[in-house]
């Protein structure tokens, strides 16, 4: 559905920019902002799978993110597994845990999924804090080694940045592919009209669970990346504030579209980080921003972009 080369060029341009930045800017502070932003892009893409594509409001993303972080932290420090194995385990554990949470939560009404996932997120936080034997509780799991694949170590900021960028680009490509595939079609069908989806043979529960599980697995990967970044994992990582951030991002960018989500994540993460707001002020600002966006810009950036594209298309076909 793209017209002309403009959007593709812009996206490529953005990619080039993202790749080149560390070469140009040596400030470690800015690199840190970039790394966090890219991680949020990945997390937002994972969140969009369940919220945007299938339309189920999950509030459990922080839990899966935290589970991934702890999986990597524990497996790398206590069992000594290499990076790729840890990240794969993070994805699998998070993805599998989504099932016992999703199955009862999807059963009741739409509301119960939101509440069920919220309950799960709360319990996860409590477990992280209190199951001292497993997680060291408030003492955190420390000493997570730097990531490395083969002989290549990602110890420096720029090298880690490239690592996380590669992973998130992979996630982006995967979700974009998924949207255009048969599965993506089924997601859209379930999102739009569950009854009708049943009538054509699509099981709503199956596809919601699939989206939820994939979303959890990807969030787990991002959590794992985070563990490799700061080398310490604490129970505070499972904070429910993450959900607020993600919702702002999805609303800014436009849920359901990978491109919109990427833009929203970049806007929604880098700006506040760069502004260096105290966390309370930032949350108030986010809350207000979210209210403003909900009320005045229901379509987000992606909606705005689409409108521009459509106008451009009309002009080019009528030419």
């Amino acid at each position: 559905m793209s017209l002309g080369r403009a959007p593709v060029l812009l996206q490529l341009g953005l990619l080039v920019l993202l790749v080149l930045v560390p070469q140009v800017i040596q400030l470690s502070y800015l690199l840190d902002v970039l790394i966090v932003t890219v991680m949020y892009v990945g997390l937002a893409l994972s969140y969009d799978l369940i919220v945007g594509h299938v339309g189920s409001l999950s509030l459990a993303q922080p839990a899966f993110y935290g589970i991934g972080a702890y999986a990597v932290a524990l497996l790398s420090t206590r069992v000594g597994w290499p990076t790729v194995a840890c990240l794969a385990a993070a994805a699998i554990i998070a993805g599998l845990l989504a099932l016992p949470v999703g199955i009862p939560s999807f059963r009741l009404s739409q509301y119960s999924f939101a509440i069920g996932t919220l309950g799960f997120a709360t319990v996860a936080q409590l477990v992280a804090q209190n199951w001292i034997d497993l997680t060291d509780g408030p003492m955190c799991v420390t000493g997570v080694p730097k990531a490395s694949i083969g002989g290549l170590s990602f110890a420096t900021l720029p090298s880690f940045y490239y690592f996380v960028l590669a992973v998130v680009i992979g996630i982006f490509l995967f979700t974009r592919r998924l949207v255009g595939s048969r599965i993506g079609r089924s997601f859209a069908a379930v999102h739009e009209n569950e009854l009708l989806a049943s009538a054509v043979g699509v099981s709503p529960l199956k596809y919601k669970l699939l989206a939820f599980s994939l979303s959890a697995a990807l969030a787990g990967v991002i959590g794992g990346m985070y563990a490799y970044y700061v080398n310490v994992v604490c129970p505070t990582e499972l904070s429910l504030f993450i959900t607020l951030n993600l919702l702002v991002i999805l609303f800014i960018g436009g849920a359901g579209s990978p491109r919109g989500v990427v833009l929203g994540a970049i806007a929604g993460t880098s700006l506040p980080e760069l502004l260096r707001l105290a966390s309370s002020w930032r949350l108030v600002l986010f809350g207000v921003a979210l209210l403003v966006i909900i009320n005045f810009f229901p379509d987000g950036l992606e909606g705005g972009l689409r409108r521009i594209e459509r106008r451009l298309a009309r002009r080019s076909t009528s030419a």
Partner: protein, 252 residues
């Protein structure tokens, strides 16, 4: 039991109101059966029960001797029993082609890996689906609109698309809920032609209709429901003369 679809003693109640009362009938393979009756007689509820959207308090539904009474709707659809809805339901946000591809993809065999990886097998199935979808759209005069979002089609076009979606996976039995409702006479002819064509190809069609012209014209057999009860069944001419039927429609 040698009908392709057997409905046995179905009773359905809503809050104390009996909407279907001990309804039993069989559908012969290749038949074109119409179900008629005054408003509120339970016809759509009957469809809902048969296709798994509602659970009856009593009775069984059998499809090829398999008891599908408790099956969920998507399983029944995949088995080969497809239904349409009274208010035309399509995926407005998807293109016409995508609606059709969606309608058939659940019926194609896929392995688990194929679902994720764009394997040659999946690619072939997609090609076949697109091929058939395009042919169908052409047949229904919707080829020009194949990439259009279904929500943007005209009412008549949506009706055609809905029927196309229903027959896309070539189900053995298709339940059509008022396919000719609120449609202009030309379109009614078009739809009826397609319905009869599908039936002549050997598929079983069960129709709910109010349009007596259509019913009398194309049905092999007619069932009459009144207040949840089956009050008559037989060939169209016979049912038309039936005093019970006349009473149900024109008052007591």
């Amino acid at each position: 039991m040698n009908g392709v679809l057997e409905v046995e003693r179905i009773t359905k109640r809503f809050f104390g109101l009996t909407v279907l009362d001990d309804v039993s009938f069989g559908v012969k393979p290749g038949e074109l059966l119409s179900i008629i009756g005054p408003n509120g007689s339970g016809k759509t509820t009957l469809f809902n029960v048969i296709s798994g959207f509602l659970r009856a308090e009593r009775g069984r539904v059998r499809f090829h001797d398999t008891d599908i009474t408790t099956w969920p709707p998507h399983a029944i659809a995949r088995r080969g029993l497809v239904r349409t809805f009274q208010d035309v339901r399509l995926f407005a946000g998807l293109s016409a082609l995508d609606n059709l591809r969606l309608a058939v993809q659940q019926h194609q065999e896929e392995d688990l890996l194929g679902r994720f990886v764009w394997s040659p097998k999946v690619r072939r199935m997609e090609r076949e689906a697109t091929h058939r979808a395009t042919a169908l759209l052409e047949e229904f005069g919707l080829f020009e609109q194949r990439h259009m979002r279904a929500g943007l089609l005209s009412y008549g076009q949506r009706k055609l698309l809905e029927f196309a979606m229903a027959i896309m996976p070539e189900p053995e039995v298709v339940l059509l809920d008022e396919p000719a409702a609120a449609v202009n006479p030309t379109m009614i002819n078009t739809l009826t032609e397609h319905i009869v064509a599908y039936n002549s190809a050997g598929h079983t069609v069960v129709l709910i209709e109010h349009n007596m012209g259509v019913v009398m014209d194309i049905s092999h057999r007619v069932l009459v429901l009144d207040s949840g009860r089956l009050i008559a069944q037989g060939p169209p001419e016979q049912v038309r003369e039936n005093p019970l039927v006349l009473e149900a429609y024109f008052g007591r």
